[in-house]
């Protein structure tokens, strides 16, 4: 090593040499690394020449001869190529950074691994965490990132039932789908109606389930209650039974003419004094369908909150309440100043996920009444939320894939924007430690 130290190694020069990957590493006397980096570089060039350039070209044109060029496949191949390029760029930056850093080590006279064995050992020691997370990344990239990328691209095309490849070509249309959603009469009306119901639904249903959950937890937390375990088990049942079963059962029970609510429950309630209700149009009147859906979601969703809040309540020390009592705080004041703030600070992130979850709660809407009753244009029913509208746009008899993709993007931006904002505010998911 002594002889190398005399020839000065300049970090800047090493970084500059790594413009061709590997060269900086050779300069740093790490031939194995250099060979590997150079090989990756050649592999990328070979990939670009044999596949990449064609794929990118296909992505730009989306094919030119109908029946021969399959626009969708060109789109997918192009997206894959974009991912490959992003990965290569990542590698390229690491390569330059590595050259710079190792050269710096030489400069300050620190130990640098030059032997093959030492580099491999170092790779194992420091590469171990990456090795363990590779499967997670692989699955996420192909099940989340790649589909999102493809959706992003499709939102800017005219892919719909008039343009089904390979018989027809798909073309880029820029922001036309987005413009249509916001300006074209039918789409705009539907979009506004669906969006406003989605917001109302999310707020009402989630707030209902959170309120019932918190209230139940507090009521059941009182010390004098007998048979606490029995109640505890009963209150967990709505969570334990798979949701699709309960939603479908409720859907049957809320049937206007033969359902149990109208034939059994309401007559029973009418036995009580001062109560007189007729059979209600649960499935045929949008208003009552909305009420029913929100109530059922309250039923389904509260146990999760109840379990969470019970855990939090158990963690609040009793002394805190005792002290407040001695200071003369009323039960309500104790709740307002001790219980409620503790719940809110500890459970806020989970409450947020409940809101975003209901924003995309397809099962509840679709399995209860298929988004109906009736239609409000552009494939949407009167209780459809954005996600079930997307589903209908994609699966209907005249699919509007590109509009669906555009709506998807709009939803994602809304959801991510709001959650990021709130996560920042509540400082949930702190990155520290």
């Amino acid at each position: 090593m002594e002889e190398y130290r005399e020839k000065k190694i300049e970090p800047k020069r090493a970084a500059l040499l790594s413009v061709i990957p590997g060269c900086g590493q050779f300069y740093n006397r790490q031939p194995l690394k250099g060979v590997i980096f150079l090989l990756i570089f050649f592999l990328f060039i070979w990939e670009m020449l044999s596949f990449g350039i064609g794929a990118l070209h296909g992505l730009v044109t989306l094919g030119s001869t109908p029946g021969e060029d399959h626009s969708l496949f060109l789109l997918i191949e192009g997206s894959l190529q974009i991912l490959v390029i992003i990965f290569f760029l990542g590698f390229y930056l690491i390569n330059i950074y590595d050259a710079y850093k190792v050269a710096n080590l030489w400069k300050i006279g620190a130990r640098v691994n030059t032997s093959v064995k030492a580099i491999l050992k170092n790779l194992y020691e420091h590469g171990f965490p990456y090795l363990l997370t590779v499967p997670a990344y692989f699955a996420m990239i192909f099940a989340i990132v790649f589909p999102v990328l493809v959706t992003l691209l499709i939102a800017f095309t005219n892919y719909d039932f008039y343009h089904i490849p390979p018989a027809n070509l798909i073309d880029w249309v820029g922001f036309k789908n987005f413009a249509n959603i916001f300006t074209l009469g039918t789409y705009r009306e539907t979009f506004v109606a669906v969006l406003s119901w989605t917001v109302i639904w999310t707020l009402c249903a989630t707030t209902l389930q959170i309120t019932i959950g918190i209230f139940t937890a507090i009521v059941l937390h009182q010390k004098f209650i007998k048979a606490k375990r029995v109640f505890g088990v009963i209150f967990l049942l709505p969570w334990a039974v798979p949701a699709f079963i309960t939603i479908m059962s409720f859907s049957n029970m809320f049937n206007d003419s033969i359902g149990a609510i109208n034939t059994q429950v309401i007559p029973l309630l009418n036995q009580l004094p001062f109560i007189e209700i007729g059979a209600l149009p649960w499935k045929t009147d949008p208003f009552w369908t909305k009420i029913a859906i929100i109530l059922v979601q309250g039923w389904l969703g509260f146990p999760y909150i109840y379990v969470l809040v019970t855990g939090i309540l158990q963690s609040i020390p009793d002394e805190l309440y005792e002290a407040a009592k001695i200071d003369g705080a009323s039960a309500f004041q104790r709740f307002r100043h001790i219980t409620f703030p503790s719940i809110l600070t500890m459970a806020a992130p989970i409450f947020i996920t409940q809101y975003t979850g209901n924003f995309n709660n397809f099962s509840m809407i679709y399995l209860f009444n298929e988004g109906g009753p009736g239609s409000i244009g552009a494939n949407a029913g009167s209780t459809d939320i954005l996600i079930s509208w997307i589903y209908k746009l994609t699966t209907g008899t005249s699919p509007q894939y590109s509009v669906a993709a555009a709506v998807t993007l709009i939803i994602s931006i809304i959801v991510i924007g709001i959650s990021l904002f709130i996560f920042k505010k509540t400082k949930a998911f702190e990155m520290g430690d």
Binding site: F128, A136, A139, V219, N252, I312, Y401, I416
Partner: protein, 284 residues
């Protein structure tokens, strides 16, 4: 304390107890009624069109027999079981490894990739239907369970990795350090020291991953086409979507066969949920 205020106190205490029990019992009835009405319909003879609670009806096991002879329920059940077990094994392994790494190792890009997990977790992936459709076309994977499994697993990873990391964080790192001093390698520390301590969380994760395919409807409906490839959620829906087909009793029977085993698993692991929720979700 004067006699009057004592009376007041007792009255208030009584009122509180009365309303507490009234609320708890009312809520219990509201929860049990729909479940009971569905469950009891499974044992009713005759062709039902709607669930109803009727104790005087004839009781029979015939619906269960019909379920396995007249419908494809057996195949749906096997499909769903395979799917659920596969998702469970793969997802839990991947999530455990990733959660362990983020909790125990400090490496370049750690913070950035944790942020990436949080943001990716918010993307409503199920909405990317068009993309899944196109991918399935290209891979020739329409009507294929493996593609569906892959989507379930990928979609579940970000959030569950977070929860898993949070749970690993609660286990003191001194344990690893002392094992390292004793000469244990990466794998031994993970496998023999830390892993046994997170068994509760692994159990919860496994249950969630297992329950997912039983309950998921949208992607399954979208990707699976032939009835014999259906999962139970899709299959049972065909019984109840058309009230004139009068298969409601079969739906109820099928629902029992699904809900009972899942409920048993659920209540067995129930005590870990609180730790799972508050330990992982809120600490970060």
């Amino acid at each position: 304390m004067s006699a009057k205020s004592e009376f007041h106190y007792k009255l208030r205490r009584f009122a509180n107890r009365f309303f507490t029990y009234f609320y708890l019992i009312l809520l219990s009835v509201i929860i049990i009624y729909p479940l009971l009405i569905t469950a009891s319909s499974a044992f009713k003879a005759g062709n039902l069109t709607a669930f109803s609670l009727d104790v005087s009806a004839d009781w029979t096991l015939n619906n269960f027999k019909r379920l396995f002879t007249e419908t494809l329920f057996g195949e749906w059940y096997v499909n769903t079981l395979i799917l659920a077990l596969f998702c469970m094994v793969v997802q839990v392994s991947v999530v455990t490894l990733a959660g362990y790494t983020y909790s125990r190792y400090r490496f370049v890009g750690r913070k950035q990739s944790l942020k990436f997990f949080v943001i990716v977790q918010m993307v409503p992936t199920t909405a990317a239907l068009t993309a899944f459709f196109v991918m399935a076309l290209l891979l020739n994977a329409l009507d294929s369970m493996w593609f569906l499994a892959f989507l379930y697993i990928g979609g579940g990873i970000p959030m569950n990795t977070w929860l898993m990391k949070g749970y690993f964080d609660t286990i003191p790192i001194d344990l690893d350090e002392s094992a390292k001093l004793d000469g244990a390698g990466h794998f031994r520390i993970f496998w023999q020291i830390v892993l046994p301590l997170v068994k509760p969380m692994i159990a919860v994760q496994a249950l969630w991953a297992f329950m997912g395919p039983f309950g998921e409807y949208m992607l399954a409906k979208f990707l699976l086409r032939r009835p014999e490839n259906y999962t139970v959620a899709l299959g049972l829906q065909t019984f109840i979507s058309n009230p004139f087909e009068q298969k409601v009793a079969l739906f109820a029977a099928g629902a029992i066969l699904i809900a009972v085993p899942i409920c048993i698993l659920f209540f067995m692991l129930q005590k870990y949920f609180i730790t799972g929720l508050t330990g992982g979700g809120t600490k970060g």
